[in-house]
Symmetry: D2
């Protein structure tokens, strides 16, 4: 584990230790030597560190043929290109970089994309704790954009609203309405609602604590070696 | 039944006929004589007619000591005062006038009022078919206003939103956020969400066909005689 | 339309007439000649008739190179084999036979299958009107079986229940718990609940009237010609 | 605070300190002297201790005219009678003992009781984490019993089930069906579903962390002095 003393890192180490089929080898944090991984014959390293150090980490791991699962943010197109170049010299090495490891969140976005073309209507309702600064949430906005893209060429959701109060119909994200509820007692929740004649389909994701990324990280650790080269997002592991 | 050939009237007649403890006596529509009710010793008449005839109907019913359950609209303060005056001369006669007979809708509004003071946060989400012209719905706006009134003196629901897209946070109705979803495949639905530290309470009402007023009308028919004078709304019958 | 005077047939004809990109050519019911379809140069025929006549219908349609979309039930393995044989002689003809045309129902089953492997826990809750004779519903039992198959080799959902009342934990369908709610005011609804550390994913399908098969039938009419030979189910049209 | 070093006690102290209108005076735990409360002129003491010490605590508090809010369990009829006797000698002292301080849970039970008579059908679905030993949950069983009592004399919910799999229709608690879902990623959730012709009403309570008792405890602290003598449950404070 890289970033082993961070909150996220510590939670992942716990998850690895609780898994029967995985062995925790070494935790490295600021100031520790990366050679700890080669010394312990580590096969996969998880990196939840910082944009300022993640590239050095990846260079070391790829050069040493250690697979990497990366949740650190800040991957620009240039950085992605650099990682690919390093990997091209090491055809067996595998790197998976993902912005979101929560399997439920990733699947609900995928299902929303798949369903988008087959319903007359679609709207998104996201519900979060009241300390959140942005509305709609980044995930909801991204979900709406994926849906809009999948519906390209189709008519917008029908809407006969002619009178009302500003804001009632939510935010317009590429033609998809998104509603943001802020409520004490909630954490992070999202519903995508699809409707057509006589039926509706709802895909709801509830995330109630900060450890929901763990199963996705473990899934990546188990399967990253099967995908040499660079993989972006955990979607390809889900065989959809 | 007054307005017996209308869609609503016919549905109520069916409901009365299906009820073991009630007997259908007579149906009257435009052109028929009101004396049909006195001839058949009718005890309770249900009126779903038109604002242009309902006052004449009520005058006749009260004078003849027949109880009335009224779903016809258009009752101004003047009309209400007139009905009260007629009733004062007939102390045994009972009239119940209600804008909404759907028990689920009425109860959900009552519960929302009762719960309003005990939670930090409250928002309303209403969901309807896409042919609806107004957003938010009249019921949602009224629910929000009742909640706002019950919370008078309490702080508004907390909300740290500082960036976002217009409309994401819904319409502001007296300080209560209301979100309107429009979706093919829906009829009329409403959720009131309450939240406080670690818990949420949701009151959801789903109305999926136009006959949901029937149980409330039958309830009123059964109990109107117990309440001589004028009763407005079915709430008093619900013993809340 | 074959079975044009039936309730289902009439609803489909309405749907075709309301669609800008489709033209209704002819409706045939018991006693009418199938030649009406060849006379009108019909390209696709929808068959919602009866097991006793559907095979004769299909023989005629395939021989005349007319594509068929079939919702009639009773397709045994023998019948399927017979249809395939007829089709082998007419390589351009296309037949699509589906047990369920409700897109929401089909998608929710597909999504349940896709998600099944990635969560520790899964249960099914189906909710129907109280006149239903079977519990669980056929759809819920089939969904549970598909999920169980997709999870083959994985541990069962964790469950520490040691005391309780019989039936509380629902029916066991191949190791997946299924709960059946029966409630006045409902039509046909189903939730598949998936859970893992810190998050849950819920796929909910609500069908509130009997016309929810129409969009799926129209989808099949539009695309059946692209798939010569036999297609079973609308899933292949959904490009999942 | 009595039991100030316990997990619950510490959480309540935090809640008191965060409240503008309350002042924390003293925390007492095993080994500390109760006189700390009289020394600090404490007006209200919250007791989350143990059945083995709570009676001594209450005796002291009542004798000294300090109001008490008690979440400690183990109150038999004899203990309640004893508390009442002590209180009769101190007419100004007020004690509130409650088995559940989660306002959402208490309100949802109250609303379920109120709605019970007005719907043809009612069922309860409770959903919990998979480590729970009992099914149904104590709260769900109690809710079902309250509903059954409120419906005394009314027919059972209609149910035409004639074929099926054992357990599908849930547990029978006094004639009310209760379904128990166990799912990783959940904490404690409950839905009471009511249905009648064309409409349903759902009361849902979600409790996602162990601190959901805090607002109810603070409510009791604020209002206990207004109710001299013994109050059982927080319901009377909710003015329903």
């Amino acid at each position: 584990m890289l970033g082993a003393k961070g909150k996220v890192g510590a939670t992942i180490v716990e998850g690895v230790e609780a898994a029967d089929d995985l062995t925790f080898t070494a935790g490295v944090d600021a100031g520790d030597a990366l050679s700890l991984f080669t010394d312990t014959d580590t096969q996969v390293v998880v990196d939840f560190t910082h944009p300022s150090v993640v590239m050095d980490n990846l260079k070391f791991l790829i050069e040493n043929g250690i697979h990497a699962v990366v949740g650190t943010t800040g991957f620009t197109d240039e950085r992605i290109a650099q990682v690919r170049q390093w990997l091209s010299a090491k055809p067996d090495a595998a790197v998976l970089i993902a912005p979101n490891f929560a399997i439920g969140a990733v699947l609900s976005m995928q299902f929303a994309k798949q369903a988008a073309r087959f319903f007359e209507s679609v709207e998104v309702v996201e519900l979060h704790h009241p300390h959140k600064a942005d509305a709609p949430s980044g995930t909801a906005a991204r979900t709406a954009r994926l849906i809009a893209e999948a519906r390209k060429g189709l008519p917008l959701s029908p809407d006969a609203t002619s009178t009302g109060i500003d804001g009632a119909r939510g935010a317009d994200v590429d033609g998809v309405r998104v509603h943001s509820v802020r409520l004490a007692g909630l954490v992070a929740h999202q519903e995508v609602l699809f409707g057509t004649q006589g039926e509706t389909l709802t895909i709801r994701h509830d995330s109630i604590d900060r450890t929901s990324f763990v199963p996705g990280v473990l899934l990546a650790v188990r399967h990253v070696a099967e995908r040499p080269g660079l993989t972006v997002g955990i979607e390809p592991l889900l065989d959809l």
